[in-house]
């Protein structure tokens, strides 16, 4: 019988309390207990990036973190970021450029892009090489990387233009 723990976290802007098994990782907690299936699970050992979520404002692998460790944390998933409209421009650009094909890797890629976009200032914007470097932690098995880089670059330029 697995040990149970009570946790309270801020998930997509709302306080959530739950009981979790000690051994349950965050991705399974989100998907199975909370039915938030936007976070995808693939390799479960940190290689593919499909399960990326935002943890306290930065991207993290939800398969490499226990649900009990999210106690007190601020977690955002693709559901929350979509509802908030914070990445609406990014999502529209993905659609416009066919940067999602089967869509399986997309939520994880969006988290990587969200962290990258959080660094956009009027100066020192992430370059195309830096976008590729950041995306090196996400596998797209449709291999549609080029359009993903294009979409992120377009949003970086648009947001930087809006700042300056």
């Amino acid at each position: 019988m697995s040990e149970r723990h009570s946790i309270t976290l801020t998930l997509n802007g709302r306080s959530v309390s739950a009981e979790v098994d000690a051994r349950t990782h965050l991705a399974d907690f989100l998907r199975h207990q909370l039915k938030l299936t936007g976070t995808h699970v693939d390799c479960e050992h940190g290689v593919c990036g499909a399960c990326n979520i935002m943890l306290d404002g930065r991207s993290a692998r939800s398969c490499l973190m226990l649900a009990v460790q999210a106690d007190g944390a601020v977690i955002d998933t693709v559901e929350g970021l979509t509802a908030s409209g914070l990445i609406a421009d990014l999502q529209q650009e993905f659609v416009a450029r066919n940067a999602l094909q089967c869509g399986y890797c997309t939520p994880g890629v969006l988290m990587t892009a969200t962290e990258l976009l959080s660094r956009v200032k009027s100066r020192a914007n992430p370059s195309r090489a830096e976008i590729r470097d950041a995306l090196s932690g996400n596998y797209c098995r449709c291999t549609g990387y080029h359009t993903i880089v294009d979409a992120i670059e377009a949003v970086i330029q648009r947001r930087a233009g809006a700042i300056s």
Partner: protein, 288 residues
């Protein structure tokens, strides 16, 4: 692909964590960044009876300047190391190595001290620690000791750390004004574990590099400090042939292991090329 059953404890202070490790020695494992432990649990390569989560222990945070050394606490993430202007300026070898360490989301969680504790043969931080002979600070209940990196790594995933000890800090010596550093690695995908890599520290004399510390990693069970390198002097105007010869003499020290990343003799050739390139880059940066 799901972790086995374990008990989970999250002490608020170091004494609490050390007590748990002392009372459950051999059964309890430390959970810091979890970027290697969690895959091992998910794949059931590891089945500890207890995880001691040290993430709430505030005293293990932080990067600080201690004069001759820079201290990196056990909870300092790779991302924090990469973004530290103190480390970039005072321990430039870390700055050269960091772009090769994992991927963004993993860097946000994984820790320097955790990387040292795991001692993956293809990880960058153990190689950097051996190159600079960093001091690894270990605490157990009632005792503290410091182990130099050059004696810390004992074998494949084997270190001098006992089961009841936590690495609380690592102390990296600050670069001296006459020191020059180099780093190069080969991996299948950028940010993945290295097939083979090399980390280098050298002293610059007028028109030459000498007193080389050359460490190969990824290819051996532990980071390998080249015995041949120490006596080498490299003139700034070394020809490509001379550099290739020097690199070949140093990679002759290697005993590379065959694995899915390639045959041992292939890795030796790859290391020779990486070393030659890194030395060329270093020679280009010395003041003649």
């Amino acid at each position: 692909m799901k972790a086995p059953i374990f008990t989970y404890r999250r002490p608020d202070d170091l004494d609490g964590a050390l007590a748990l490790l002392a009372d459950h020695a051999g059964e309890a494992q430390v959970l810091a960044g979890g970027q290697s432990l969690m895959p091992a649990l998910n794949m059931r390569l590891s089945s500890p009876g207890m995880l001691v989560d040290i993430n709430r222990i505030g005293t293990l945070r932080g990067i600080s300047d201690r004069g001759n050394v820079i201290r990196i606490g056990a909870l300092v993430r790779h991302a924090e190391v990469a973004e530290s202007s103190l480390l970039t300026s005072r321990v430039p070898l870390i700055a050269l190595a960091m772009p090769h360490v994992a991927h963004m989301a993993v860097r946000n969680r994984g820790t320097t001290c955790g990387s040292l504790a795991l001692a993956d043969p293809s990880a960058e931080m153990p190689a950097v620690a051996v190159t600079l002979d960093a001091q690894i600070v270990l605490h157990k209940r009632g005792a503290t000791r410091t182990v130099f990196a050059r004696t810390f790594f004992k074998g494949l995933y084997q270190t001098a750390r006992d089961d009841n000890e936590i690495i609380t800090d690592v102390l990296f010596p600050v670069a001296q004004s006459d020191e020059v550093f180099g780093f190069a690695e080969l991996s299948r995908r950028h940010g993945d574990f290295a097939t083979v890599g090399v980390a280098i520290r050298a002293r610059q004399k007028p028109g030459a590099l000498e007193d080389l510390s050359v460490v190969f990693f990824g290819s051996e069970p532990t980071p390998l400090l080249s015995p041949s390198a120490r006596s080498v002097t490299l003139p700034a105007d070394s020809t490509d042939a001379a550099l290739a010869g020097a690199a070949r003499a140093m990679t002759a020290d290697m005993e590379p292991i065959d694995n899915h990343q390639g045959r041992g003799d292939t890795k030796r050739k790859q290391a020779t090329v990486l070393l030659q390139r890194a030395l060329r880059d270093m020679l280009g940066r010395i003041h003649v």
